[in-house]
């Protein structure tokens, strides 16, 4: 009775993994696999009780071992700290609060939503109109993108005026240009409107005819207008 219970318990242990357990089997002499109907099984078991006992013990020991290993694995897994949305909320919430408070009192703090500079800019220019002006050569084209992007590709004849070093580059390149000369600024990405900011700075420095190229360099390139290098 005890043995039966032990086997049953061990079998239950083995089912913990939820997977089929396979084991290699070896026979002492040539053997043929036969299928025994259910009503034959009981008499065979009774006749060979010694063999059934020994096999049962072997299986029981094996399954107990599997059960113990599973138990250890389970211990290992269950010792992991619980993971809930509260943890994520705690970290992100703390981060957001600290960031906003620090930004509020940081003298280098920035507005949460980027400010628009459009109100100072006169208008947008279509690429086709801009190209006509480019051909006449009377309009100054200004690339507002960072210098590395300008180096990679820019409208032919355009002047680089990156936002990060605007004052320095302005003094170097167009400070002495006629203030009434038409300037077309380009340089806009999904993340930043370099053109708006540079255009507003040019307007602030007294340039009266500043425009922004609609669609930036991408629209220019789409129409196969000249770029360099």
């Amino acid at each position: 009775m005890t043995e039966k219970r032990e086997i049953a318990t061990a079998l239950a242990d083995s089912t913990l993994s939820g997977e089929l357990i396979r084991a290699p089997a070896k026979t002492m002499e040539e053997t043929r696999l036969i299928v025994i109907p259910g009503d034959w099984f009981e008499p065979i078991m009774r006749k060979n009780s010694d063999m059934v006992d020994s096999v049962g013990k072997e299986v029981s020991l094996c399954l107990h071992k599997v059960g113990s290993t599973l138990e250890c694995d389970a211990d290992r897994q269950f010792a992991a700290p619980r993971l809930t949305w509260v943890d994520y909320l705690l970290i992100v919430g703390l981060g957001v609060v600290c960031a906003l408070v620090f930004n509020r009192f940081n003298f280098k703090g920035i507005p949460i939503v980027p400010q628009s500079f459009l109100y100072e800019v006169v208008s947008f220019e279509n690429p086709s109109t801009a190209f006509d002006k480019h051909k006449k050569g009377k309009t100054l084209f200004v690339d507002a993108m960072p210098y590395s992007f300008y180096e990679q590709e820019h409208i032919t004849g355009a002047v680089s005026l990156p936002l990060a070093i605007f004052v320095f580059m302005y003094d170097m390149s167009i400070a002495h240009t006629d203030k009434s000369k038409e300037i077309i600024v380009y340089g806009r990405t999904i993340s930043k409107r370099y053109d708006e900011e540079v255009a507003s700075k040019l307007v602030a420095r007294g340039h009266k005819n500043v425009k922004i190229l609609k669609g930036s360099l991408d629209a220019w390139k789409k129409k196969n207008y000249p770029v360099e290098p």
């Binding site: 009775m1 005890t2 219970r5 032990e6 318990t9 239950a12 242990d13 913990l16 107990h64 071992k65 059960g67 113990s68 290993t69 599973l70 138990e71 250890c72 389970a74 290992r76 897994q77 269950f78 010792a79 992991a80 700290p81 619980r82 993971l83 943890d87 994520y88 705690l90 970290i91 992100v92 703390l94 981060g95 957001v96 600290c98 960031a99 906003l100 620090f102 930004n103 940081n106 280098k108 703090g109 920035i110 507005p111 949460i112 939503v113 980027p114 960072p146 590395s148 992007f149 180096e151 990679q152 990060a164 990405t189 999904i190 993340s191 930043k192 409107r193």
Partner: protein, 188 residues
Amino acid sequence: MRSISSYIKGILMSEYLSLALRIYVGCIFIYASLNKIPDPSVFAENIAAYRIIPYRGLHLVAIILPWIELICGFFLILGLRTRAAASIQGGLLFMFTFFVIINIFRDSPISCGCFDTVGEPISWKKVAINTIWLLMTIQIFLFDRIYFLTRGGFVFKKKVHNRQYIDRMRSPSFRRSSGIPALTRTRD
């Protein structure tokens, strides 16, 4: 005698390795955040160069992201909510790596902006480093067991049933009534 593979497996699954990685990854993220927090406008410029984050959300990301890095770094080092911190770090690393890969394919002439304002140019080497750090956060997430101030509990709901079953099997009263000998625990 244990095989080499089981020995390596043991090391990779070790909670002590997790502790070491926690300190290492935590320090990296704290260092990275400390360069970004004081001047969010510079960090915003660096993010803008990637040309992925929309204009309206750029400043918000530049303000908040370094603080989340800092808090996650501290949490990892101190052992507070380490699994959540590691998964957030892992998520950020995955995002950074993805952004770098996109810009490598775009052939963008930009610097990484990971640790300082100038930074090294983006490259496949940067992707490899980020991937290694990402694997470290995964190790921490899965195997970290040395922690403080946790509520304790279970990892996955499915395994709760197993745990309850094992507890029942372990109980002396159940074993006595069933005549089962005590289980001998074998740990490797």
